[in-house]
Symmetry: C2
Subunit: 342 residues, 2 copies
DNA sequence: TGTATTTATACAATCGTTTGTATTAAAATT
DNA sequence: AATTTTAATACAAACGATTGTATAAATACA
C-alpha cells in the first residue's frame, strides 16, 4: 500500500540508502554483489523511483513540454509525432498540453510547465496570443524554448522553426494562374497571426508576378471555419460573379466553400478551382479531392525538437538563436486542375 | 538567471522562509502587511513555485495522467477535451501520452506517470495490450485508475467507462431495415478485439429481430482501412448483386466503399445505403454525408474523469469499483435514408 | 500588576533522492 | 612489516517546498 523508497530497501538489506541509490544507478562505486542484491529486492518490492525527488535534487527533469493550440488538428498531431520520435531517441519524456487557442490557458500551461521544471519547451502559440510576455519567465530563468509554426513576432531574437507561408501561398496561386484562373479569391485568417499575413502577401505577390491586378474586394477575412467558407462563398457568388478560383488559407474554409458551390451546381474545378492550406486528412477524402499545401508537420516536429535538445544540452546559454524555415509542399489534386490547362 | 526560491525572498525581506511559504499560500497565520510585502517581492522577482518540491513534500501532484493509443483519432481527442474540462474544473492538471498502439510504450508511460506521482490515471489500452500486468504497480501502490473505451478484460474488478457496441450496431442495422434494406452487408474488424465482436453480434441480433436470415457470406472481415472498404465493395458487387446496404464497423471502410460505389455510378443511398461507426469528422464532410454512430468521446471523457476524481478524493480505497456503459448515438445523415421510407 | 491569551514569526524536521566527503578494511606496493 | 592505494560503504548535506512546534511580543483579562 505504501510506496517503496530506497530507504526501505536499505533497511531490509542493512545497508545505507546512498549505496542503494548508487546500485540502482549502476554506479561503479558499489560492489557487483551488492548491486544484484539491491536490484533483486527492488524488483521484489515493486520499487519505482520517485522522480519528484530525483528531479528536484538534480535540478532537471529529462522532460520537454509541448504546447499546441489543439491536438486534434492533424498538423499538430503530426508535429507531436515528430517531436516524440526525436525526444524519445534522446531519452527525453514529452508532456503535451493544448491551449485551445486561448491565451489565458497558454499562459497557465507555460507557468505550470515551468513550475514542473521541464528542461525546455516547444510552443506553437494560440490565435489570441499577441505578445510574448508570458514567456519572459522562461528567458529570465534560462529555460530554452523553440517556437514552431506559430511564433511571437514581438520577440526579436528567438529560436523558431517556421513554414514559409509566403512561398506556399505564392506557389498555390501561381498554380491556379497557370490553370487559367484570373479572378482569384483569397479567404484570409485573423491578421494578428503572422501566418495569415504571409499567406496573403504570397497571394498578392503571385498576382503581381503574373500581371494580374490586385483587387481588395477579393480578399475576405474570417476565422476560417467551415461555416465561414460557406458563408463567404455565398456572398461572393452574389457580388462577384466572375470569380474562377478560391485560395483559402486553410482546408476547412476551402471545404465549406466547395460544399456551398456544389449545392448551387457550380462545377469544381471547371467553374471554380479551389486550393486549401494544411493538407488535413479530409482533404483527400472529399470529392473532388482538394489541392492543398502540406505543412510537413512530422518534419517540423523533428527539427524543432532537435533544435531544442541542442539548446538544452549546451548549457552555454548565449549560443546564437536560430530560425529555420521550411517550404510547404503543394499537393495537386482534383479541385484545382481545369482541363485543357498545362 | 537562477531560479527564484522562497529562501531568496525570505532573505531579502529578512524573514523566515516558512513565513514566505505561508504568505504565498494565503495562510491566516501571517500578518496581512507581511503577506503584501511577500507577494510584491515574489512578483517583482518573477517567483514561480517549484512544484517538484511542493508535490514531493505534500505527496500529491494535483495531476492526472491520460494514456491513449493516438491523440490524432477524433474519438480520443474528444475524450481528452472532456477529461480536461472536468479536471480543470476540479483544479487538476492533465498530462497526455500516446502509446501509438504499442504495449511496450504503454508500459513505459504508466511507469513514468507513476514515478512522477500522478494522483490517478485514465487509460484506453493499446491494440497490443492483452493483460493488465503493467498496471499492477498502480494497484499495489493504491493509485486509482479508470479504463475508458478499451479495457483489460483479464482484470475482473476495475473501474471502467465503456461504449455499448452491441446496442450501437443493433440500432444501426435496425435503422437500415426500417429503411427497407433486406440484404445488408457487414464490414467487420479483427475479431481479437472485443468491440468488433460486439458490433457483429449486434448486427446479427438486429437481423434476427426483424426475421431476416443471417447470411455469413455478407460478413467480411478486414483491417477496415479505406482501401479495404473499396476492395470489399468491389468484390461484393461482383458476387452479390442484390445487396442494398452496408454496415461498416468504422467510418473509414464505409467511406472507401462509398467512393468505389460512386465510381461505378451506384446511387447512395437509393441503390445502396451505408452506415459507418465512430462519427469521424470526415463523415459529415463527404457527400453524401455518412450516417454513423457517435461514440460520445467528450461525454466518456467527462464521465471517466469524474469517476477518477471520486476515487482520488475518497482515500477510502476500498470503495466499490464501477462499470459505466454508454449507448452510442445513431447520427442519421444522407447515406442511409432511402426516400419513401419512414 | 501579574497571568492568560492571542498573534506573528522563527526554528527545525520532513518528503525521497543524489552526491561530496569521511571512514574502514582489504589489497597492493615498498 | 610498514605504508600507500584502492575498494566498498557509511555519513551527512543538499534540492525547495510544507508544516508541527517553539518562542517572543503584544494584547486581553483578572
Amino acid at each position: 500500500m505504501k510506496k517503496v523508497t530506497i530507504h526501505e530497501i536499505a533497511e531490509i538489506l542493512n545497508i545505507d540508502s546512498s549505496t542503494v541509490s548508487r546500485a540502482l544507478n549502476d554506479s561503479d562505486r558499489v560492489n557487483s554483489k551488492t548491486k544484484k542484491k539491491v536490484l533483486k529486492k527492488a524488483e521484489e518490492l515493486g520499487y519505482r523511483p520517485n522522480l519528484l525527488a530525483s528531479n528536484l535534487r538534480q535540478n532537471k527533469s529529462n522532460t520537454i513540454g509541448v504546447v499546441v493550440p489543439r491536438i486534434s488538428r492533424s498538423f499538430f498531431s503530426s508535429a507531436i509525432a515528430g517531436i516524440e520520435e526525436m525526444a524519445h531517441n534522446a531519452d527525453f519524456n514529452v508532456v503535451i498540453s493544448q491551449s485551445l487557442e486561448k491565451h489565458k490557458r497558454e499562459q497557465k500551461i507555460v507557468n505550470n510547465l515551468f513550475s514542473n521544471r521541464v528542461d525546455g519547451i516547444l510552443i506553437s502559440v494560440s490565435m489570441e496570443t499577441e505578445t510574448s510576455s508570458h514567456l519572459e519567465i522562461l528567458e529570465r530563468a534560462g529555460v530554452p524554448f523553440v517556437f514552431f509554426d506559430r511564433h511571437c513576432s514581438d520577440m526579436r531574437n528567438s529560436n523558431k522553426v517556421l513554414i514559409d507561408d509566403f512561398a506556399g501561398a505564392y506557389e498555390a496561386v501561381s498554380h491556379l494562374i497557370r490553370n487559367n484562373c484570373k479572378r482569384i479569391v483569397h479567404f484570409s485568417g485573423p491578421q494578428t497571426l503572422e501566418i495569415y499575413k504571409n499567406r496573403l502577401a504570397g497571394y498578392k505577390k503571385a498576382l503581381e508576378s503574373y500581371g494580374i491586378p490586385f483587387d481588395p474586394k477579393l480578399v475576405i477575412t474570417s476565422n476560417l471555419m467551415q461555416e465561414d467558407g460557406k458563408r463567404m462563398a455565398g456572398k461572393l457568388i452574389k457580388t462577384e460573379s466572375a470569380i474562377d478560383a478560391i485560395f483559402a488559407a486553410n482546408d476547412l474554409a476551402a471545404i465549406g466553400a466547395m460544399k456551398y458551390l456544389k449545392s448551387i451546381d457550380k462545377k469544381i474545378p471547371e467553374d471554380i478551382a479551389i486550393v486549401g492550406f494544411s493538407n488535413e486528412p479530409v482533404s483527400e477524402m472529399i470529392e473532388p479531392s482538394l489541392t492543398t499545401l502540406d505543412q510537413l508537420g512530422f518534419e517540423i516536429g523533428k527539427i524543432s525538437c532537435s533544435l531544442l535538445l541542442d539548446k538544452i544540452q549546451v548549457k552555454d546559454n548565449e549560443s546564437e538563436n536560430k530560425t529555420i524555415i521550411l517550404k510547404p509542399n503543394l499537393i495537386i489534386r482534383d479541385s484545382s486542375q481545369k482541363k485543357g490547362s498545362l
